[in-house]
């Protein structure tokens, strides 16, 4: 799962107090595709942007467990149940890798989770849409993971070492996620009339939100240029979105499903699909936390965290007791 830059305002310019020779040396290293490691000097704005991007990515993985988790109990076969459980568990793992990568920048996981729960931090808009039928599990794997992979593969070469290494692991593990989703869609698109209806309905509901996953159009992404220079973003939102449409439309055709966009056509001259206008008002509303199930998602996360507090406290208390017993024995 992936989230894109959701900051509408340009980020603050590099603080004037930072020594120019350090900034120059940093920019030169990044331009030469070197990796920046946690203890290396980096501009405060780079650190801030990375913490925001990586933690947002981590939050998306964790919140992303919920829409699919909604169907583990109702998976229609034992095999599907095991696959879905393994997939949702992977997402938890990916969230964990990413929190750990962000923690190397000096912000603790607890602080990041606090920012999520108070609404200060964002997560991918896609998870604020509900999963209504089993076909949604197929559509999420196929479209949402498909979009995520497209975003994440280039990040394996991102300039910040811990982030890049986390992404290598994530990409390796996610390779089955999209395939299992497409397999579910194939099963349903070739199944009973009710199954076909569910499959088409799922594509109808998930198509546009999936395109929104790539983030606002390039002319409304004020930080893209700087992020690309810093190698924490490797392609623009619109480039990735176009690529996604180009590879996904033939996959929908193979399923015999119709992409819900009357303006969609293949342009022979460019070799790309042209597609209709995305409803950006809806996108910004969902970013603001007004997605159909945004309340449910945050409610679930906050509840899990709050109700887990006594468990975390108890384990910490036990460890402290063991520690003092051992010290007394020495």
């Amino acid at each position: 799962m992936y989230t894109t830059e959701l900051q509408k305002q340009p980020s603050k310019p590099v603080a004037a107090t930072e020594p120019q020779e350090l900034i120059d040396a940093f920019e030169a290293r990044v331009a030469a595709d070197e990796f920046i490691e946690p203890k290396d000097w980096m501009p405060a704005a780079y650190r801030r942007t990375l913490v925001r991007q990586i933690s947002q990515h981590a939050h998306s993985e964790i919140v992303g467990m919920l829409p699919e988790g909604n169907w583990i109990g109702r998976a229609p076969s034992l095999r599907r149940k095991a696959v879905l459980l393994a997939k949702v568990q992977d997402e938890g793992g990916h969230g964990l890798y990413l929190y750990a990568a962000a923690e190397t920048l000096g912000t603790s996981r607890e602080e990041m989770i606090e920012a999520l729960h108070t609404g200060k931090a964002k997560y991918s808009t896609i998870f604020n849409y509900p999963t209504l039928t089993w076909a949604d599990i197929g559509a999420i794997g196929w479209l949402v993971d498909g979009a995520a992979i497209m975003n994440q593969v280039p990040l394996q070469r991102t300039s910040y070492g811990p982030y890049a290494r986390a992404m290598v692991r994530v990409c390796k593990e996610e390779s089955f996620h999209q395939r299992q989703g497409y397999e579910i869609m194939m099963c349903m698109a070739n199944g009973t009339p009710e199954q076909k209806e569910m499959a088409q309905d799922a594509l109808d509901r998930w198509w546009w939100p999936s395109l929104m996953m790539f983030g606002p159009p390039d002319d409304e992404s004020p930080n893209t240029a700087q992020s690309m220079r810093w190698r924490i973003k490797r392609d623009t939102n619109d480039e990735l979105r176009q690529h996604f449409v180009d590879v996904t439309v033939p996959q929908a055709e193979f399923l015999g499903l119709k992409v819900p966009d009357p303006k969609l056509r293949f342009n022979e001259a460019t070799g790309h699909y042209q597609f209709g206008e995305i409803d950006w008002a809806e996108f910004w509303n969902v970013v603001k936390g007004e997605g159909p199930v945004a309340k449910e998602r945050m409610h679930d996360r906050v509840k899990a965290w709050d109700e887990g507090a006594w468990v975390r406290d108890a384990a910490a208390a036990h460890a402290a007791k063991q520690h003092s017993t051992r010290q007394a024995a020495e």
């Binding site: 203890k39 000097w41 568990q89 793992g93 036990h318 460890a319």
Partner: protein, 94 residues
């Protein structure tokens, strides 16, 4: 008081004969659970045959600003490498 569990660095031996290699980190209240969390997080796909966990706070790291004095003096000691020495091709087993 925050009871945030400490961070542990996880090292995995992927197969016998290889050394342990850094895989990532986990949070855990103590060493036993750190091992379990490392296992459940980093070896879900047969990635390892052995695990180490080390409290992250216990890792002592070199200072990148000292990279010059630390590492560059080794650059000039080319006589430490076997290719520095010329032995005629017809001399074997050396």
């Amino acid at each position: 008081m925050s009871n945030e569990w400490p961070l542990w660095e996880v090292f995995i031996r992927t197969k016998g004969g290889l050394s342990h290699r850094h895989a990532g980190s986990v949070r855990a209240p103590d060493a036993e659970l750190a091992l379990r969390h490392a296992r459940d997080t980093y070896t879900r796909r047969l990635e390892g045959v052995s695990l180490w966990v080390v409290p992250s706070a216990q890792i002592v790291a070199s200072d990148p600003h000292q990279a010059g004095p630390l590492f560059e003096p080794a650059e000039s000691k080319i006589y430490r490498h076997p290719t520095f020495y010329h032995v005629p091709d017809n001399v074997k087993h050396i």
